[in-house]
Amino acid sequence: MTEKIRTAWKFLFGDSARAFGSLSVVLVVMLAVVPAKDHFREWLHYQHEYQSLIRNRSDGVSLARRFQGGVQQIWLPELDVVDRCATCHSGLKEASLAGVAAQPFRPHPPIPHSLTEFGCVMCHRGQGFATTVEDAHSSTKAWEQAILPARYVESSCGQCHERPLEGTPQLNAGRDMLARYGCVHCHKIASPEGRVMTATDDPPSLAHVAEKTTREWIFAWIKNPQAYATTATMPNFQLSDEDARDISAFLINQSTPYIAGAPRKTPAVPKQDDTAAVQQGSSVYGESFCASCHAMQNAAGLMTGGNIGPELTRVGSKVKPEWLADWLRNPKVYDPETAMPHYRFEEKDVGLVMGFLGSKTDSDFLKDVHMDTATAAQIAHGKTLVSERGCASCHEINGVAHADNFAPELTAVGSLPLAKILFAPGMAHTVPDYISAKIRNPRSFGNALKMPKFTLSDSQVDSLVTALLAQTTRAKTLPATLRIQAAPPSTYQPAGRAGQLMTDMRCFSCHEINGRGGSMAPELTWEGSSVQRGWLVSFLKRPNTLRPTLIRRMPKFNMTDEEASVLADYIMTVYQTAAFDGAAKFAGGDSAHGKDLYYGKYACNSCHILDPAKDKGYIGPTLTEVGLRLNPEWIFHWLKNAQALRPGTLEVNWNMNDEDARAITAFLMEQKAAPRKGASR
């Protein structure tokens, strides 16, 4: 045997020439492995699989005709996109493959953009260059950005779209939350143009907090805000009893009086056991539509009301009566910036509302809270804590300056390099997982961290992560023409006495005019073109609802005749659309024909109520008194093209001819049912 090996060795490597020859053969064989390896590339395998998938289908011939072999690439230099995903994902554009479950052959669901104009990695991220499964989808040393988990994919829309989109509810919700939960008080988040996101919450000033509430309440509140109000947006700072004690001591200590001078009179407040009076207060609360902004938990535990103002379920355990009286009389005395309108309550009503709110207590909430007199050391420690925890990032506090950039900037957090992240042990090393864990439980990354814990549902966290993942560095490099910028913040301010009144009654808390204001109530930019003055004056004096299904309605501000008249004049004069001539007189039409059209051709009654006994349309506003309310020219143009008058309205764009529109307008102008007394429920 050894002899044989020796002979073979001698034959192959006996002398230099033989060794050269033998080695050359081995070398050629090894080099032949190189093209052989190319032959077994993954994408070739997938293309073969795709071909056998379509071969047996009835539409196989047309699919095969559209199939192209080889590396498929989408190259968009201006977007910095080189995508080879379609090399394996051969059926992306084949809608007929909708039933195919196996990846990579599923077709892409329909989206508003063309795949070839935007590529894949713009939305899905991952490595577009790659033609292997591993490299394209996962985070590797050579390409950190892994493919984006599908549940966050809306975030990619946010790279260009700064305005809310209909198709991205999660992204919109996340962005709202960033503003509403006050994230942006501490974290700077800027758009690619450099516009910094601003908060929409209104954290109260604490400069006079001792006038408003007690140290005990502050202690209980900062320990766990959600125990006082489940809807509270204030996060839990996970304070120890000692820290909460010292912070409350400091906050009371730094507080200053907000009205100098004599002690204030409190109106006659009914006793709590006077159920009739409390019931009366509840009625005033209801008629004033406080619930449009303030939520309250009823006996059944159901939360009803708006989220513009704070929840009032346990307000009786919180506020001091003197403060509440002042606040109800005119909130601006305590807080000039408040969103709360100035109700012109009579003293009697103030007392009644106080009686009702005073009944909203929770005997358990402050049961175990007993505060001793604060020592100077405790107050000093409290001040240190207030600075360290960044309380002044949100609240105005005497003696503690507002800190800019208190927390890390999040403008490009979606592209955060993994090397810059300190992951908690055991967690997946990806940016979405990091952001999500950080929001869910900030202290899991270390007890010394300052970030407080928010009470959020899983879907809320997903929304926030989605909104934050939209903050990428890629967004900055995209062409400006692609970007749909958010509407610039409006500084619109109406002039004169009407302007003062609108400010006093905080119209902008609910109504939008010329780009400024809330979204709860109808936009009023062209209100003057749409309504009749007589109706407007009576509505301002005694608002009743136009939309029967709404819980949140226009409150009654107890205006004087003079105030209502000034406001109405201003609205009629200034808030005029340019879409038609406001001075034009409606030409009239065939109202009988209009009635036929109303009930027949256009079936307006499916959304609007004309006869409360018969009609069941609850989507649009009631039209029983529309002839008293609206301007006929407005109705006429509205019927022709409602979207032109109010973009985004639910009203169908009928594209009616002039004759039909005139006829229906004439019919509607005859609807002048007397407004029902106390229509507001």
Binding site: V71, R84, A130, T131
Partner: protein, 245 residues
């Protein structure tokens, strides 16, 4: 039989003989002519002492270094067909090599690993030469040429290191060039000259590319020629034979 006759026929043809004048014989004369009549081969001597071919004498480290150099030239030229020395296209070309070009990964691997092997082999060659005492007169100048070739090898490898334009490349060159700026008086100027700027950027990439693909290989070829020529002129390889025990 037929084949070998055809080969002999070709080698005796007028055209073949006009190119290779040495002829086909097996005699030492023919073999000497084969070396002498070849512009590349004539750097080497016609005969070599048998002992110099023993593995233990050189470990063939010089030959292997040259082998690496040749592999690098071939793979390097092929890589140049795919590479653009610009930012960030240079990096995209790496991705193309990896994911699209047939055998692209293999080509890059071979170039990269050969470059590492060459640095290692050249160092080993130097120490082997030293410990064999082959640097002594009359070979002292060839030793100096060898040191220059070592520097060239390092510089070739270093300039090539930047070309993929990835994090590894960028920061390795940044660290390296920062060392340069520590040179008193002219450090910053030297760094500026080599990088074509104050930081490692697109200019540095282009400069390193030209150095790596044109200037340094040309200089290296000249020094290699001198190095081999000198082996012959300094009396062949030092066999390390001792004149006494």
């Amino acid at each position: 039989m037929k084949l070998s006759e055809a080969v002999v026929g070709v080698r005796n043809s007028r055209v073949w003989r006009s190119v290779f004048r040495a002829g086909t014989g097996d005699t030492n004369l023919h073999r000497s002519l084969a070396v002498q009549q070849n512009v590349f081969m004539h750097l080497a001597s016609v005969k070599v002492r048998r002992r110099a071919l023993d593995f233990g004498v050189t470990w063939y480290l010089g030959t292997l270094s040259l082998g690496c150099f040749l592999i690098l030239v071939v793979t390097g030229i092929l890589l140049m067909l795919y590479y653009h020395p610009s930012v960030p296209q240079g990096y995209a070309d790496m991705k193309d090599l990896q994911f699209v070009v047939s055998a692209g990964v293999f080509l890059r691997n071979l170039h990269r690993w050969s470059a590492h092997a060459m640095v290692l082999l050249v160092f080993a060659h130097m120490f082997k030469v030293f410990y064999r005492g082959a640097y002594r007169p009359p070979r002292e100048f060839n030793w100096v040429v060898g040191v220059v070739l070592l520097m060239l090898t390092l510089f070739l490898s270093y300039t090539g290191y930047l070309l993929p334009w990835d994090q590894l490349a960028f920061w390795a060159i940044t660290v390296g060039s920062n060392i340069m700026s520590a040179v008193p008086l002219m450090g910053a100027k030297t760094r500026f000259l080599i990088l074509g700027g104050n930081t490692v950027n697109a200019n540095a990439l282009l400069r390193f590319y030209v150095l790596h693909c044109v200037i340094l290989p040309l200089i290296a070829v000249v020094f290699l020629a001198v190095h081999f020529w000198r082996i012959r002129k300094d009396g062949g390889l030092h066999t390390g034979e001792k004149t006494h025990e």
